[in-house]
Subunit: 400 residues, 2 copies
Amino acid sequence: MLVVKKFGGTSVGDKDRIVNVAKRCIEEYQKGNDVVVVLSAMGKMTDELIAKAQEINPNPSRREMDMLLTTGEQTSVSLMAMAMDALGVPAVSLNAFQVAMHTTSVYSNARIKRIDTDRILNELEQRKIVIVTGFQGVDRFDNYTTLGRGGSDTTAVALAAALHADACEIYTDVDGVYTADPRKVPDAKKLSEITYDEMLEMATLGAGVLHNRSVELAKKHDVQLVVRSSMTQEEGTVVKENVRKRTSEISGVAGDDDAARISVLGVEDIPGMAFKIFNVLAKKNVNVDMILQSVGHGNKKDISFTVKEGDMELAVKALEDHLPDDAYEGINYTAEMAKVSIVGVGLRNHYGMAARMFQALYEANINIRMISTSEIRVTVLVNKEDMEKAMIAAHGAFKL
Amino acid sequence: MLVVKKFGGTSVGDKDRIVNVAKRCIEEYQKGNDVVVVLSAMGKMTDELIAKAQEINPNPSRREMDMLLTTGEQTSVSLMAMAMDALGVPAVSLNAFQVAMHTTSVYSNARIKRIDTDRILNELEQRKIVIVTGFQGVDRFDNYTTLGRGGSDTTAVALAAALHADACEIYTDVDGVYTADPRKVPDAKKLSEITYDEMLEMATLGAGVLHNRSVELAKKHDVQLVVRSSMTQEEGTVVKENVRKRTSEISGVAGDDDAARISVLGVEDIPGMAFKIFNVLAKKNVNVDMILQSVGHGNKKDISFTVKEGDMELAVKALEDHLPDDAYEGINYTAEMAKVSIVGVGLRNHYGMAARMFQALYEANINIRMISTSEIRVTVLVNKEDMEKAMIAAHGAFKL
């Protein structure tokens, strides 16, 4: 059996944790399995490197930033190999060049294109544990790239796919995926299984156990993931295509308290107005989330959407500067909003789930400001101060 | 003109020094020259990485140690590229993979075999300053290697040779090569020129401005070196094949106060005894320096040699354990010795130089314990407490 195990920065944050991870991998190895370990940079190392760079250049080139940051994972993997060696197990560390982890050339946000598996398979054949740098790749010009947020998860999934691994385990500081954030919803329970699609919706909604790109990749290559804790031996949550029947129609409730609502009012009801608005925002790199267009009154309509709170002023100013004055009547906006969502494949086939959520919020006396839905998700925008109450209400309504 | 500039760890020890080096390189660039910069790891970074490794594994594999250490130079070069970029000059950092710095597979002490110059030439053509990691290479299995002590100097010389550079400048914390260590001989003067061979003898003798391997490589490829300070604008010392006529027959006086003398007494005067003795020491990795064999008395002779003080006890014990008891009569040894040498191509053709040195030491009332010579060097072993007095006496005798 070939197992890929990924450990994040907290799990390798100091000497003792490195040794702990080494032991954990050795247990797997001693069952006779082939073990490939993917590591992030140690604890705060990436932040420290960024601070060092900022001191020298407040706006460093992304190419050089990636060159600097890749030293982080290389440090982790070499120290891990030493730790395993000290425990009497042969290990070898490999960086993105040595694996040949080919990516696109988009510095700081590259995508994996192809992985050469020869070197890894060769080392596994010699019964070594193979320790690979997460997060980093090499483009076709031999420049280092990095994969952006959650990049090491993506590395692990890509390796599992390329190596046709039997398991891909993502170790983190929580012991699985919960029906809601336990810090916000005391009744939250750990899920034993969740589908890729549900995980994707949860990830987007800020229940950030796994990064989206890694889940997408796992879905694409049908790599079954296990999310579990590096600190305990508890079973984690399996992320896969289909799950067994659940007692609840939904898999979880997610909350994201970084939202602001912007409404462009009295927009002329002619084709192309939505394009104009969102094009202005795209040019300013403002990410737009929930979008809602009112049914027109006469020849006017309103277009509302949410952005991250930090982007609100920039977005409003960009619209005021770049939309023709006669194209709309006004803009209004509110910060301090939050998104609360229910997610579950059950929403596909069960009617009335949205209604049940709205009822729960109504009974909790929470005002809904916007609604948006996908096939397996219902999201409402509420005042930030109401977020936790809304999450608890929704969680309770679905007997999670 | 293509100039290779190498800066050591002290020269890039912190933010201000990095910016200082960046400015220095930009001056050269703005003259219209092509500039290739070779950097070591920042200040104490290598020591810190070694300490980190030791914490996890007191005896780490050299392969993993090299994997860890190469992050040091990669950090320096990326930060340097950011510094130059902040000063408005395009720069690109390259590590051993990106340059394709091919070495042998001897971890921690590899030798450069071949450098691909395509990438560097390409970047220079785009009028970028190219910043290359010193000290590190890649073997034919894509493993990182390091070049051992003074490795960044070697990188610089090898690059200068491969690129047919017009100049190779080694920046250090002294402003050149002196006729003697100024801390020990107050009259010491900076040399404007020195030959490769003299530099090699000086380096071996502890006047460690340049590491031997880099000087050997420079001699082999006829790369003219300049040793100068990164802190001042002073002219440095040029290291080359031939020097102009000097006022003194010698180029300098060197002292090394880390020496112990060991004598194996009453060794049977038959072939193979010297081999046996030095083979025992080689197996224990004891480096032997000055070797002296007395003319035999009857069928017995004495064999004396020097080792580093720290190796003395190990060496004596190894000899006692592994030489047959009847092969010698006894061993005596003295720690706290020092070697004092005069070096100069002038010694080749001028008779009486050794005698002039011995006379100066005699007049200074210094006892000579052993003598050894090469074509361009005379070395004497004296008591450690006499070293500085001996250096001053020799320095004065040759009107340096």
